[in-house]
């Protein structure tokens, strides 16, 4: 924190949402008010923030910030509330928790939390997690709306999630494939777009494989290969066919470092399973010309080192884990693992800085005597099955009947699939408590709604989203606005009312100091500054000199450094999966026809494939209400002119998008940037149903089927819909 003059100071902070970046914000504070925001102007690599971070002042001072604790007075979802005192609100929450526990047991309390804060040490869902654990437990959720296919694949194939390279390695590649990957909007590690631009300027060929011609394709790629949603695995497997039959695969690498390639080869060549998976086989499935597939395979295999860069989108499909398993297999076949300029196509955590999967800095794990594992391992409900579990409970085969929902750090009614079902489900509960900053889709259903402060109103530490060579101390810049409190303050007060001893007992600053002093996993790269220095400077950058890349030790000496898998090698064939004996989760990567894809008979009724995408104007549902960002572009559905013409749909006009799960109304964007037969909607716009239950907010999740892949991926990119013109009545 530095003083500019007697009246203005600069405070370092960040915006710790779930966008993919963790960037630096410099807040100008005058008279207790944030007046301006700048970003990193210091040493390179600068951590420059995007439009979302720069718009943050409008979020903190938004007129629709929740100011006081509220009690519902209207119907659930109606949004009618009355102001109550904190004491009244917390008494009610405490007594409801006790009542539900006594009448139904702890399992009847569903704790639903998501990624509102990501990478923060202290202020996150974990404050409530700790409270409810100490209260005797709860039913948690599992799964992720983002990356579960990738997580599962990385664990299975490499035995770790730390399977990535820092983005400064991008210009070291000779050839790059961005597969369903749009970092121009999702950021995917601060500065990734900047490094892609540098690669392009160096003359490195970058190819985008995507149903849409994204901003990333436009800015970085010299070739766009449109592909039908849900069929990416078929194309990767056909690329493997080309690599094998043209002898372009790295046999020595495969022999040394992998297990099960021969079994995969048998499947690919069709000697053990089905037809040969030739580019001609893949063409009618993917919509990609066979020759394009073959050429891409040759380029990827021969222009080494090459990067196959993926994040979540193609994995957010019916058998999404197969995409990531196939991508990792192709990376191994090309020998692109553990080398600069390559990439393992794994989960993508960078092997530098604080890792999210360590125990450091997680308040919930700082329980006296450690976190009781039993409390964590209560029957968890997959996030896509949450509404079904609430509606059907034990009778539907779920382990607990839900009676109360405790919701923080997320907007699940809006962001988990099948919104209309979510509304039916959540209305059935006896009690709903929500911590929020705004009257979101979910907050409207609360019985007790507690106002939470923003990160500028408290101290915290944040690490980069996918790990990386820095940490930011988010210094408190202003006092909590109105009557808002942090989750930690709320839970500390609740713990007292519930008679829970030892919930916190120390200050925010003492928590953070203890976390920082435990942050050993950064110290092998550079000694950590002491807590007070870090807090004062606001940012700690590790000078890594060269990119941090995964698996160099394994590639150098496998015997001394085996992969953390059961076999000690990269598992193209997984014995663990073989033991599952599940044809939908095979031991080798395979293409499995998705439901609600082009081969589903439902396509006769709903002929368009919907994908739900990420936008630069929001981070999921965060910032959807911020004027500066909202007004940049309208919420639209992308439609190819061919599909628009047959439906007499015109650019800028409103359309109805529907299937059996619901109807949404939004503006048509007629564009050549999407392939015919496919339409896309940016997820995250807030659900706004009219009196007939038709969503006028453009919430894509209304249309999605509440189903997950066999491994647990959120299937937000296989969904069939129809569109028609909206005629004004």
């Amino acid at each position: 924190m530095s003083e500019l003059n007697s009246t203005e100071k600069i405070v370092i902070s960040s915006c710790p949402h779930d966008c993919g970046g963790t960037c630096l914000l410099k807040l100008h504070v005058k008279g207790g008010v944030i007046t301006k925001i700048e970003t990193d102007g210091g040493e390179e690599p600068q951590l420059r923030a995007c439009a979302r971070g720069r718009a943050y002042r409008q979020r903190v001072y938004a007129p629709d910030r929740l100011k006081y604790p509220l009690k519902r007075i209207g119907e659930r979802g109606e949004g009618k509330f009355t102001r109550i005192t904190w004491d009244e609100a917390l008494d009610k929450v405490a007594s409801e928790l006790e009542r539900i526990k006594e009448n139904y047991g702890n399992d009847a309390i569903y704790y639903i939390a998501y990624s509102g804060n990501t990478g923060t040490f202290l202020h996150s869902q974990l404050a409530v997690f700790r409270l409810l654990t100490m209260f005797g437990g709860f039913t948690p959720c599992w799964g992720s709306a983002s990356f579960w296919g990738s997580l599962f694949s990385s664990e299975t194939t490499y035995g770790t999630l730390t399977a990535g390279h820092t983005s400064d390695d991008i210009p070291n590649a000779r050839f790059i494939i961005m597969w369903g990957w749009n970092p121009a909007e999702t950021v995917q590690r601060t500065n990734t777009p900047y490094y892609l631009s540098q690669a392009r300027e160096k003359g490195i060929k970058i190819v985008s494989v995507d149903p849409r011609f994204t901003d990333s394709a436009a800015a970085f790629a010299s070739q766009w290969i449109p592909i039908r949603p849900g069929t990416d695995t078929a194309m990767l497997i056909a690329m493997a066919y080309v690599m094998i039959t043209e002898n372009l695969h790295d046999r020595k690498f495969l022999e040394t470092y992998t297990v099960g390639f021969e079994k995969f080869k048998g499947y690919v060549l069709g000697t053990t399973d089905g037809p040969p998976k030739t580019p001609d086989w893949a063409e009618p499935i993917t919509g990609v010309p066979a020759e394009t597939i073959a050429t891409l395979a040759r380029e990827y295999a021969t222009k080494k080192p090459s990067k196959l860069l993926t994040l979540g989108a193609p994995g957010r499909t019916a058998f999404g884990e197969q995409f990531h398993r196939a991508a990792a297999t192709i990376a191994a076949m090309a020998g692109n693992i553990g080398i600069y300029g390559g990439d393992p196509a794994g989960f993508g955590l960078c092997p530098v800085g604080l890792q999210p999967n360590t125990s450091t800095g997680l308040i919930a794990r700082k329980m006296p005597g450690g976190l009781p594992e039993g409390a964590r391992q209560r029957p968890a409900i997959h996030i896509t099955k949450l509404w079904d579990a609430i509606l059907r409970g034990k009778e539907g085969g779920y382990k607990a009947d839900a009676k109360m929902a405790y919701i923080t750090n997320g907007n699940p009614v809006n962001q988990f699939m099948n919104t209309n079902k979510a509304v039916r489900a959540i209305k059935q509960l006896e009690t709903i408590v929500v911590h929020e900053q705004f009257m979101t889709t979910t907050a409207r259903f609360a019985d007790i709604l507690l106002p939470v402060n923003t990160q500028f109103e408290r101290n915290d530490i944040v690490r980069p989203w996918q790990a990386g060579p820095y940490c930011i101390y988010m210094n408190k810049a202003i006092d909590s606005l109105y009557e808002s409190k942090s989750d930690l303050e709320i839970c500390t007060a609740l713990a007292e009312k519930l008679g829970i001893k030892g919930y916190s007992g120390i200050t925010e600053d003492e928590w953070l100091r203890s976390f920082w002093e435990d942050a050993n996993d950064m110290s092998d790269t550079k000694p950590l500054p002491d807590y007070d220095t870090f807090k004062k400077e606001g940012v700690f950058k590790i000078k890594i000199g060269k990119p941090a890349i995964s698996f160099t030790k394994q590639i150098k000496d496998l015997k001394a450094n085996p992969f953390p898998t059961p076999s000690g090698k990269i598992e193209i064939y997984s014995k663990k999966l073989e033991e599952k004996n599940d044809s939908k989760l095979p031991p080798i990567p395979m293409y499995i026809e998705p439901w609600e894809g082009r081969s589903d008979s439902l396509i006769e009724k709903y002929p368009l494939q919907l994908i739900t995408t990420h936008t630069k104007r929001r981070t999921h549902a965060n910032m959807a209400n911020i004027t500066w960002l909202r007004t940049l572009e309208p919420q639209t559905i992308w439609i190819n002119p061919v599909d628009a013409a047959t439906r007499d749909i015109h650019h800028g006009k409103t359309v109805r998008v529907f299937n059996d799960r619901g109807i949404i109304v939004l503006t048509a964007k007629i564009t050549e940037r999407i392939m015919p037969g496919v339409v896309s909607i940016d997820q995250g716009a807030w659900y706004n149903p009219d009196k007939n239950g038709i969503d006028r907010g453009g919430c894509a999740n209304v249309l999605l089927k509440d189903e997950h892949s066999p491994a647990g991926a959120f299937c937000s990119n296989n969904c069939l819909v129809q569109i028609e013109r909206e005629f004004k009545v």
Binding site: A51, P193, A218, L629, E672, R673
Partner: protein
């Protein structure tokens, strides 16, 4: 001396960071007013498509037609650095004038908010920041380092003298103080 802008069209991803950083720095609450605008330029037919973005503010032209058109003399050009300055106290406002400045500008730069009889507003080249030897906020904000600003002669030495780019035609009448790098 003339201060101007540089824009590298290869670098721009259309992320709008410049637009928002500008609105924050100058505290422009109105959603409809953008001193710096990012425009997508989509071309071609599926699957042969191209997309460029262009990010423009006031170009602080050598011969500002907006200034000539203003009946109130509210728009002036600073002698020492060529920066265009709007005196809102002099401006008649949108309802009292026919937005002659906006009509005269080949780039429709002058903007008016949604309040009652809004006064004209546009890019100031962050004169407040220049006094502290800082670049305009849009330049310092750009995550892609696609923008620069400074004395036009220095920019030309550094980046060349390209006056036209996709989505921008150099006006012979005004001679805008901006140079470009074209897309790959």
């Amino acid at each position: 001396m003339q201060i101007g802008f540089y824009f590298n069209q290869s670098r721009c991803t259309g992320c709008y960071t410049c637009t928002i950083a500008c609105k924050d720095w100058h505290d422009i609450k109105d959603g409809s007013v953008h001193w710096r605008r990012v425009t997508p330029l989509e071309k071609g037919t599926y699957p042969d498509v191209s997309l460029s973005y262009i990010s423009l503010s006031c170009n602080h032209c050598e011969r500002p037609l907006c200034s000539e058109a203003c009946p109130a003399g509210a728009i002036t050009k600073r002698e020492k650095d060529g920066v265009m300055v709007v005196d809102q106290a002099q401006c008649l406002g949108k309802d009292m004038c026919e937005m002659f400045c906006r009509q005269a500008c080949p780039y429709e730069v002058p903007q008016f908010g949604t309040e009652e009889n809004p006064k004209m507003q546009m890019c100031t080249l962050c004169l407040d920041r220049f006094l502290e030897s800082k670049k305009p906020i849009c330049v310092d904000a750009c995550p892609m380092r696609a923008l620069d600003a400074g004395p036009l002669d220095d920019l030309k030495r550094k980046y060349g003298d390209l006056k036209d780019v996709e989505g921008f035609v150099c006006s012979a009448a005004t001679n805008p103080s901006i140079i470009f790098k074209k897309r790959y």
